[in-house]
Amino acid sequence: MIPAEFKYLFPSTVDEAVRMLAEEGEDAKVIAGGQSLVPVLRMRLAAPTALIDIGGLTELTGVRDDGDSLLIGAMTTHYEVQRDHLIHDHALLLKLVTDTVADPQIRHRGTFGGSLCHADPAGDLLAPALALDAVMIIAGPGGRREVPASEFFVDYFTTALAPDEILIDVRVPKFTGWGAHYEKLNRVAQAWSIVAVAAAVQVSGGAISAARVGLTNVGSGPLRAFEVEAALVGQPASAEVISEAALRASAGDGYKDNLARVLTGRALTAAVAG
């Protein structure tokens, strides 16, 4: 469990970090909380020549109110997300999802941005980011650019980030007053999701006015269950409507397809209830 040799760099600004990434070339990597990268290094599944530790970039931590949306710094830890009032009030789904990530030790080190950049299809934060239309704000040698979640997650462990880019902020629209729930099936507490479903619903006057549903670990990246959402909007928030809509989460007859349907039904039921 000993990583290959690497150079260690500790920038103090985003611009410096971007410059270092460019200077060190393709085989350099950003390290955030290290909760996914360090195991990979220790098992020598990857051997980057340089690690650029963005742990000193205080400008990347914390959640800000930005009018219609929240800006979540990439280096905000899971622990901070769990306790942030803005997230609790305007993006409750993210809090509920983060509550299920790993264990307290890991939540103190692992970061919101790191989870998204790592793009493990079993990672829990991808599906809610997709369902909530999050937008990634990225810094690179050519300046800043914005990439919506729907284009950010490309494949297994692959994102739209170029090797010389850093995720700095995540913009999440406000979902104030929406009900939310994350229904996760994993075998033991420290294991990743077999399948999980993130749901957020807006109910007014007994009817569902808007709904978001994202699926974890069903495909090579997070999936948005558009058909489920469509079947809900404008319908009464009833058990029948939910169970009928949940059937559209997946068409196959495999175990994960079944879980996608069952857990979608449960996630929606709980989201509607509160």
């Binding site: 220790r42 099936l185 075998r187 990743w192 999701s193 077999i194 670990n217 079944n258």
Partner: protein, 808 residues
């Protein structure tokens, strides 16, 4: 006020070793730093079966910090063969077992080359620069296929069959003939169960340091068996035993996984001798999973004969046991330990056990918590449930009908053992009461009637097991190479303080606490005045170490005998000091007195008198130390009743344990806190076999569960609050009345969980589900689909990694 002090025996003392263990104040093997120390890294075969056609170490040798790179050829003349101490039959096939492969590898993870460097980092770096050419051979993984002998693990042996071992009650004169019972039975149940392969997963990875000094070698190892290791290292390497000192410092768990003489222990010793410098090796978790021995891995075919009224009459057990690629220390004997336990607490008239040991291209198997007994208990408890289902009887009734009644002890079993004591009725009654058995049955009926999504199951395990390994004559009869006695010494220091030396080798159990309690109780000295020394062959020169729930029943008894010797001598001296007849001396609460007088000498006074030796009775030697060695006449037989309620989500297949009651009879309890701890940990491991853990391989023989992301060890978060209680029928085979508790929880719990899950879904048409009962397997069974193999493991984070070299 000593007279009213709380008795030491039975007192729930906190463990005295914990402060240093959990605050970083102890030195684990890997913490040792010696001047001039070299570091060893091991390159392991990524391939399960191959000829090694070429090894090129030139690149690695020239890397910075590398002292030398060594291969099997370099050690061919000196490494000997790793020991197997249990040749179960005269004609058992045993392949040579080199510590470092020579010319051929037989499992993925086998050591093929060593880098010796000035740091662990540089040693790991250089591993990647060793070039090896492999010529792949057909891989043998499946035991039934292996027995066809189409492809051979060891071509020289001419077969993959290692040995067949048979016990037959008719031949042994312990019962009738099983074939007759089957032929005349009203009901015959035949089932096949799979005991999946497990990985012991001790917390502290293995680590070895060897320091050479002027022809003497000190070996530190995270081992359960320092004494056996010393003997075996001497036998394997030819280094004289008196030139070897083995130290097991504090060791972080073993579960049988450190009951081994490992390739790396031998190699560190040989490298230290070659280099004349200290050498350290510490494994990574993945390395541990790829190379430390595994456990279980049996296919069990059972045939049970019974009458329609539920009386069992005969039991036939046909086992296939996977040895893996080599025979390690007790590999072939592990399934044989189960031979005596399949009949369990039931009165079968006839019993036959046939075990066929098989070689495959996998990591060798060996002892893992329970070693043979969990497998047996699982099989018989599953069969009792199958019989109950077949006859439409209540599963507890069928057990009650067949078990040995409390008034029938001592009882000679059909497997040839004598159970000395027990009370299955009492343990069961207490468990049923704690569990709320009847109410749960009613709840279950309600959920069935309502067709609830979450169904409720109730599982029973009324078990016994054998501990206190072991009477030496029995081990001899089973062709085991060593004895089963244990030893203890008491050193009475001039200030009245006490040093205890034990031949047992605790690695997490809490012997220091319990041994101190025993001595405090027997000698009337304060608990704090006792220090327990263990695990160093220089202080504890002999012993048979710790495994098989033997330490208290055997080693604790040796300690009692040593204390009796101290007291006997002290009494003689006290009489001399008080100028009375020895028969008038009374001993209580640490003091001698003359009956009917106020004359008193404390044990401390007497010990000092013995030490200064100014005035001793004629012929008495100075000093008050004593040694004792105890060889038990019989095993001890813990038993108990475990009841498990599970909730099975029929839509997802997820199983949740909603209630778990364990009522164990482990004999007289020295320290209830420690007993509870052992039961809790044991339950966790038994439940893990039922629901979570499984070592799996791909078709190339690569272990696909080589990290804790893939091999699912449950934590407290996944387990219910256990309801534990005890009944007590003391063992008659030792003066403490202790039976042993190290393995009971593991042995009992697996079938309780599995029976419970099946009970929840049987009415939905499910007949069996393989372990571990993953949600995917449970769901698949509920769909009426065949089990496609391993359950779904979410490939998060790391995914599965290949069996790659050593430190990587």
């Amino acid at each position: 006020m000593t007279a009213t002090a709380e008795p030491e025996i039975g007192r729930a003392r906190l463990r005295k070793e914990d402060a240093r263990l959990i605050t970083g104040q102890t030195t684990w093997t890997d913490n040792l730093q010696l001047t001039g120390m070299l570091h060893m890294a091991v390159l392991r075969s990524p391939i399960a079966h191959a000829r090694i056609t070429n090894i090129d170490v030139s690149r690695a040798t020239s890397m910075p910090g590398v002292a030398v790179v060594l291969t099997g050829e370099d050690f061919a003349a000196e490494q000997g063969s790793l020991p197997c101490a249990w040749p179960i039959t005269e004609d058992m096939k045993a392949p040579p077992a080199p510590a470092l492969a020579v010319g051929q590898v037989n499992f993925a993870g086998e050591a093929v080359a060593l880098v010796i460097a000035d740091s662990a980092y540089r040693a790991a770096d250089a591993l990647e620069a060793i070039d090896i050419d492999y010529d792949e051979l057909p891989v043998v993984l499946d035991m039934e296929e292996a027995l066809q002998d189409n492809d051979l693990v060891h071509a020289d042996l001419g077969t993959n069959k290692c040995a067949t071992w048979i016990f037959d009650s008719a031949e042994a004169g312990a019962g009738t003939n099983v074939e007759d019972e089957i032929a005349s039975a009203e009901v015959v149940i035949e089932r096949t169960f799979k005991q999946q392969r497990l990985i012991p997963a001790f917390m502290e990875p293995r680590s070895v340091v060897v320091a050479p000094a002027a022809g003497m070698y000190t070996v530190w190892s995270a081992t359960q068996i320092p004494h056996i290791l010393r003997w075996m290292l001497s036998a394997v390497t030819g280094i004289a035993e008196h030139k070897l000192r083995v130290i097991a410092p504090d060791v972080g768990g073993g579960f049988g996984g450190k009951l081994q003489v490992t390739p790396e222990e031998v190699l560190c010793l040989l490298v230290a001798r070659r280099m004349g410098r200290p050498v350290k090796w510490t494994e990574s978790r993945t390395e541990s999973m790829l190379s430390a021995h595994h456990g279980r891995d049996q296919i069990q075919k059972l045939t049970l004969a019974a009458r329609r009224d539920g009386t069992v009459t005969g039991l036939k057990v046909e086992l296939l046991a996977d040895m893996g690629a080599y025979l390690r220390l007790v590999t072939p004997g592990v399934p044989i330990l189960g031979a005596f336990m399949f009949n369990s607490i039931y009165k079968f008239a006839a019993y036959r056990f046939v075990c066929t040991n098989v070689f495959t291209n996998k990591v060798p198997t060996d002892a893992y918590r329970g070693a043979g007994r969990p497998e047996a208990t699982f099989a018989i408890e599953r069969m009792m449930d199958e019989l109950a289902v077949e006859l439409g009887m209540e599963p507890m009734k069928i057990r009650e009908l067949n078990w040995i009644k409390h008034e029938e002890f001592p009882f000679n079993t059909v497997a040839g053992l004598t159970y000395d004591s027990g009370n299955y009725e009492a343990a069961t009654a207490r468990a049923m009461e704690l569990f709320g058995y009847e109410e749960l049955r009613e709840e279950q009926a309600r959920r069935r009637a309502a067709g609830s999504v979450v169904q409720l199951g109730i599982g029973i395990s009324t078990y016994t097991e054998m501990c206190g390994l072991a009477p030496s004559r029995v081990l001899g009869a089973l062709r085991y190479a060593a004895g089963g006695w244990e030893t203890a010494s008491i050193r009475m220091l001039p200030t009245g303080k006490v040093e205890v030396i034990t031949g047992t080798s605790p690695h997490g159990q809490g012997h220091e606490t319990v041994w101190s309690q025993i001595v405090a109780d027997r000698l009337g000295v304060p608990f704090e005045d006792v220090e327990v020394l263990h695990g160093d062959t220089a202080t504890s020169h002999k012993g048979m170490d710790s495994y098989g729930s033997r330490s208290l029943a055997v080693g604790g008894t040796a300690l009692v005998h040593a204390a009796e010797k101290v007291l006997a001598k002290a009494r003689t001296l006290a009489a001399h000091m008080m100028e009375c007849d020895e028969s008038d001396v009374e001993f209580a609460a640490g003091s001698f007195s003359v009956r009917g007088t106020s004359t008193v000498r404390t044990l401390g006074d007497v010990v000092l008198a013995a030490h200064v030796a100014h005035d001793l009775p004629e012929g008495m030697e100075p000093g008050m130390d004593a040694d004792a060695t105890f060889d038990p006449d019989n095993f001890s037989f813990p038993h108990g009743t475990h009841l498990c309620a599970t909730e099975v989500d029929t839509e997802t297949g997820m199983v949740r344990i909603s209630r778990y009651v364990a009522v164990d009879d482990v004999g007289t309890v020295m320290n209830p806190l420690i007993v509870d701890g052992q039961v809790h940990g044991g339950l966790a491991q038994g439940i893990a076999q039922a629901l979570y853990e499984e070592a799996t391989h791909d078709e190339m023989g690569t272990l696909t569960t080589a990290t804790f992301a893939d091999y699912l060890v449950p934590s407290a978060a996944d387990l219910p609050a256990f309801l534990t209680d005890r009944t007590t029928t003391p063992a008659t085979s030792n003066p403490l009345g202790a039976k042993g508790v190290g393995e009971a929880g593991t042995i009992a719990s697996t079938p309780a969980v599995v029976n419970s899950v099946l009970d929840a879904v049987r009415h939905l048409g499910v007949r069996d589900i393989e372990m571990p009962m993953s949600p995917e397997r449970v769901w698949t069974a509920l769909q009426g689909r065949p089990d496609e193999g391993a359950g779904e493991v979410a490939a998060g984070g790391l995914g599965s990694i290949d069996a790659q070299g050593g430190q990587s």
